[in-house]
Amino acid sequence: MTDLVDNVAAVESDGLARIDAAASVADLRAVEQELVGGKRSALAALNQRLGQLAVEERKEVGRAINAARTRVEARIAERAEHLAAGEREARIAAERLDLTEVIGRRTTARGRRHLVTQARDELEDLFVAMGYQVAEGPEVETDWYNFEALNMPPAHPARSMWDTLYVRLGEAESTLLRTHTSPVQIRVMQSQPPPIHVVMPGRCYRRDTPDARHLPVFHQIEGLVVDRGITFGDLAGTIEAFTSAYFGPDIHSRLRPSFFPFTEPSAEFEISCIFCQGRGCRVCSQSGWIELGGCGMVDPNVFAAVGIDPEEYSGFAFGFGIDRCAMMRHDIDDIRHFIANDIRFLEQF
């Protein structure tokens, strides 16, 4: 038995010495394999000889083997960390590169703009051609810009139309991820007097579980026109103009009454179904029409929030989803493709 205990001690001290001598992580892994890695290792071999011993002895020697194993493994871990740090340091030092020492890039292939960018650029261009400017704003907003200035005072029931994500800043629920691009309307009207002709594209947020039709991040484009004598007829004409321009001359639009706190009268706008040209199909639930967005005449309370006299000026606003336009245009069945960044998807467009 003492024989065996001595053996354990010898294996351990020899092992520890070899661990300390290992010059690289790879060497160390080899030593580890020989000492403790599996049935053929030195310590495992000792374990196998336990069977020859009496019960009492077996316990004692077993304890010695386990203690030795613990110490060996600890030393390996310690050494591994040391060697890895050293190797990283050596690698980092060896790999030093003079970033001013670079010969020019040679490429043959062209990349692709993201499909959402393509749709956004196309929509922007269309409105620019109609005389609009393009405005942008922050994605994290205060409650005032996202709700209150848009005719939704605190506790207004219409707030429940949006599932809002809040950020942990300031007082509870005072700062949020904008639920629509409409806060930009407020910022634009605060920064310039009418006439205003502006579209506002950007990323919006909702508290939603991702599925084929919903993402917590999505993209919207919103339009705002404020001037003397702007009418609901102008709104209907504008919607017809850009939907035909974007979806094609055979596609028409119609408005029907709806509700948004920031417009009055409010409307939803629909386009004739681009899949069946209005004949009725599964996509449009046989109605021949597809709902695209919301619109309406700017509510006098919104004008009041930004100090524009609603008796002197009137205006309209409209908004709709950029992602949805791209999905319809390109027959994309799952909105999650847009943020997966799979090159096999990106390269198609």
């Binding site: 670079v102 994605e139 006439p195 029907r256 799979d342």
Partner: protein, 784 residues
């Protein structure tokens, strides 16, 4: 809101085709999301009695059934359901009939046994949602009777109407009918029995309102002699069609009145109401109540409670009643509560206790403050009819300041100005009068308009303008274009941002869009500091913070592409990043960043992309300056400078970070604050004359000590070459053991003069000057 057509016709003679009614509703803003027919196509279905059942000899999943379909003969049917036995009465679709779903029933042989018809489930008949087994009918029905006759089914059409939050009046059948009647130009009336007589503050039930601000009107009416039982078929059918489950006659009457008139109400079993009275008060801090759905709910001082006369809560006002005083089979005396609660208070309570009910939705949007009496009267009338109830004594009506409907001035001129129409004053009032907006002309085409009490959403002229537009028809308004006097365009920043995309796409990169959200771990894995803006109420841990950098998102994209055998993908992204706000600011710092991630490429490749970009943007003094950057390889990273200011960082992603993302090989990286980058000084696009004289190239290779940046040597060369230098380019790099700690860098210098062809002597002098400048300033020698 599900609205049966037959119910609508109680209020207005609507004779139009259901499809036209649906389209009229949608045109009025009561968008029809679905239309179902009920009880149609059942003409051939009869009542049958099961005589015997036996196993099918050749199949386990069906059985063989003999039924009597009225002629006393045994008719054999093969049936897939097992929920009935001999003696049960069931619906039978005989051979030759067609079911509502369009299924044609024929004589069929099912594995050797003939089936002469089909026994039907409630779903197959379009009558109930129960698809689990055959519908079991009242055992007293005579076989052979037509099912429609046996069940008293009346064919009907149901419109599923999406009611917008501004139209509380349309959360009632009567309200929907009012809009439709106005549209079709047919008369509309709510046949209302008179309210019970003698309303006062005292009656057979005591009422105390301690919270009049939350409850401006509370009424209680006692009905005696009640016999609880099932509702008659017509009422049960309408409730079912409207989406409510029939319970018993009194509860059904309560729901019926709510659906018909929009006034929620609550019947109590008066004998189970301690003190035989009701008390309305604010809940106490920490108070709880078990609601009808058997859930214990916490309420507080901002919530209004309905209590028994002894002060114990029996319901959350306007949201849900309590379990203790529920109507049951033994109820004989009913106390009916009908009240008007403060909409904002109900909305808050409903949100706080997490309970949205048919009642709370109506109260929070605003029920008709003048409609309580009408609803009570209707309840009493129906309860008398279906439960034998009679009203006991005067009803109690406690009021404190109900809102008054608005009265506004509406100018025909203004209506036309806003809508772009040319309506006459008579047309304006013709759209408003039928929906209860009383118009009194005040001259010049102006009206004083009394808003009806059921339209709390209308309180300004503009709200009435919308009503005019709605009933005139949105599609009737002529389309025009607004006169635009400005020139459209992008800002310089927006134009340049597009240019950046064009340049990067042109050099082979594709654009990525990653989500804005990250998990906290994502930052650690990317070697970034953990300072980030947190989301308060994320749905998933992956949405806990807003990205302070585009690095984690692009690395995830590269890893995912590598998983599809595309390790060499080159991507860029432009997007907002978010940093905690500086002291005193409410909003985060939210710059727009540009990032480039090159799979399978090193830092040098990132620099090449940067050079392409810098050249495309015409940046002056664009360069890099070695520096350690979080997340990047410590000896392969640099700050990016443009016009002397730092605009970003460049290099290679730290191997440790790559390992943490499971990415093999290297990843070149470049990031910039897009605002800073595009704000950096640029070479104006002004013509610089080009030389008419031939140019000459001189190639110079130097052995330069490692540690001396190539850029430093290049600067010396450019200075020494002077204005005859047309172009300077590093074209070769060589490292070898014989060079010992140095490398060979070869430049091509192209010289030309504006006014003559450079002579051999001049070129020799230039060459020497360049060599001297480099060897004097750096540990470098000309390579032989």
């Amino acid at each position: 809101m599900r609205v049966p057509l037959s119910w609508l016709c109680d209020f207005a003679p609507l004779i139009a085709d259901p499809a036209d009614i649906a389209s009229a509703l949608s045109g009025l803003g009561l968008v029809v999301e679905g239309m179902e027919t009920f009880g149609a196509g059942l003409a051939d279905v009869v009542v049958a009695r099961v005589l015997a059942t036996r196993p099918h000899p050749n199949a386990d999943k069906v059985q063989v059934v003999d039924v009597d379909a009225g002629d006393g003969e045994a008719l054999q049917i093969v049936c897939g359901a097992f929920n009935f036995g001999a003696g049960d009465v069931v619906p039978l679709a005989p051979v030759g009939s067609r079911l509502p779903g369009g299924m044609q029933i024929g004589r069929r042989n099912v594995r050797g046994e003939w089936s002469n018809g089909m026994l039907c489930s409630g779903t197959e008949l379009g009558l109930t949602s129960d698809a689990d087994g055959i519908m079991i009918l009242d055992a007293g029905l005579a076989p052979g009777t037509a099912l429609t006759e046996a069940l008293g089914i009346v064919a009907d059409v149901v419109f599923d109407v999406d009611v917008t939050p501004n139209r509380p009046d349309a959360l009632s059948v009567a309200g929907v009918a009012r809009d439709l009647a106005a549209h079709f130009g047919v008369p509309f009336s709510v046949p209302g029995p008179p309210a019970p007589a003698g309303a006062g503050a005292a009656g057979p039930v005591s009422v105390v309102v301690e919270a009049p601000d939350l409850c401006p009107q509370f009424t209680a009416t006692v009905l005696t002699g009640v016999t609880i039982g099932p509702s008659p078929q017509w009422m049960a059918q309408r409730l079912t069609l409207a989406g409510m489950r029939p319970i018993n006659n009194i509860v059904d009457v309560s729901n019926y009145v709510m659906l018909e008139l929009g006034q929620p109400n609550h019947p109590y079993d008066l004998d189970r109401l301690p003190g035989r009275g009701l008390l309305v008060r604010r809940a106490r801090e920490g108070e709880t109540l078990v609601t009808l759905d058997d859930v214990e709910r916490s309420v507080g001082p901002d919530d209004c409670l309905i209590c028994d006369a002894e002060g114990a809560g029996v319901g959350i006002a306007g949201v849900m009643g309590g379990a203790s005083s529920e109507i049951g089979p033994s109820t004989t005396t009913v106390a009916l509560e009908a009240a008007w609660f403060d909409p904002v208070a109900i909305a808050r309570t409903s949100k706080r206790v997490g309970l949205r009910t048919e009642a709370s939705v109506r109260f929070e949007r605003g029920v008709d403050p003048e409609g309580v009496g009408r609803a009570v009267a209707r309840f009493c009338q129906l309860a008398a009819e279906v439960a034998g109830a009679s009203v006991d004594g005067p009803w109690v009506d406690v009021r404190a300041g109900l809102p008054r409907p608005a009265r506004v001035v509406v100018r025909t001129g203004r209506v036309n100005e806003l809508l772009g129409t040319e309506l006459s004053p008579a047309e304006v009032s013709s759209y408003l009068q039928p929906i209860g907006f009383r118009c009194t002309p005040t001259g010049d085409g102006d009206f004083r308009v009394d808003i009806p009490s059921w339209r709390p959403d209308c309180e300004r002229e503009i709200d009435v303008v919308e009503e005019v537009a709605r009933h005139h028809g949105y599609t009737e308004i002529a389309r025009t274009m607004p006169p635009i006097t400005q020139v459209g365009g992008l800002t310089p920043y927006q134009r340049d941002r597009r240019l950046v995309r064009e340049i990067l796409v042109g050099t082979g990169l594709s654009e990525a869009w990653a989500t804005t959200f990250l998990a906290v771990d994502d930052l650690t894995r990317a070697g970034l500091p953990s300072d980030a803006v947190e989301v308060e109420n994320p749905l998933a841990v992956e949405e806990s913070i807003l990205r302070p950098s585009l690095l984690p998102g692009l690395l995830r994209a590269l890893a995912a592409n590598a998983g599809h055998r595309r390790p060499d993908v080159e991507l860029f992204e432009i997007g907002h990043v978010f940093l905690p706000p500086p002291a005193g600011e409410a909003l985060p710092v939210e710059p727009e960043h540009l990032a480039v991630a090159l799979g399978g490429a090193d830092a040098a490749e990132a620099v090449r992309v940067w050079h392409v970009l810098a050249a495309g943007l015409r940046l002056v003094n664009a360069g890099t300056e070695a520096a350690e950057i979080p997340g990047l390889h410590p000896t392969r990273s640099a700050r990016v400078l443009a016009g002397g200011t730092v605009v970003g960082a460049i290099g290679e992603v730290d191997p440790q970070v790559l390992a943490a993302h499971g990415i093999d090989g290297r990843v070149g990286w470049f990031q910039a604050d897009l605002g800073a980058l595009l704000g950096a000084p640029r070479r104006p696009a002004v013509y610089r004359p080009v030389s008419r004289f031939p140019s000459a190239d001189i190639d110079l290779a130097f052995v330069v000590d490692e540690g001396v940046p190539a850029a430093a040597v290049e600067r010396s060369l450019a200075r020494a070459a002077g204005d005859v230098l047309e172009h300077l380019e590093l074209f070769d790099i060589f490292r070898g053991p014989q060079l010992e700690g140095a490398r060979s860098l070869a430049w091509r210098l192209r010289f030309s003069s504006m006014d003559h062809t450079l002579t051999e002597d001049e070129l020799t002098a230039l060459r020497l000057r360049c060599i001297d400048a480099v060897t004097a300033a750096h540990p470098a020698r000309l390579r032989g």
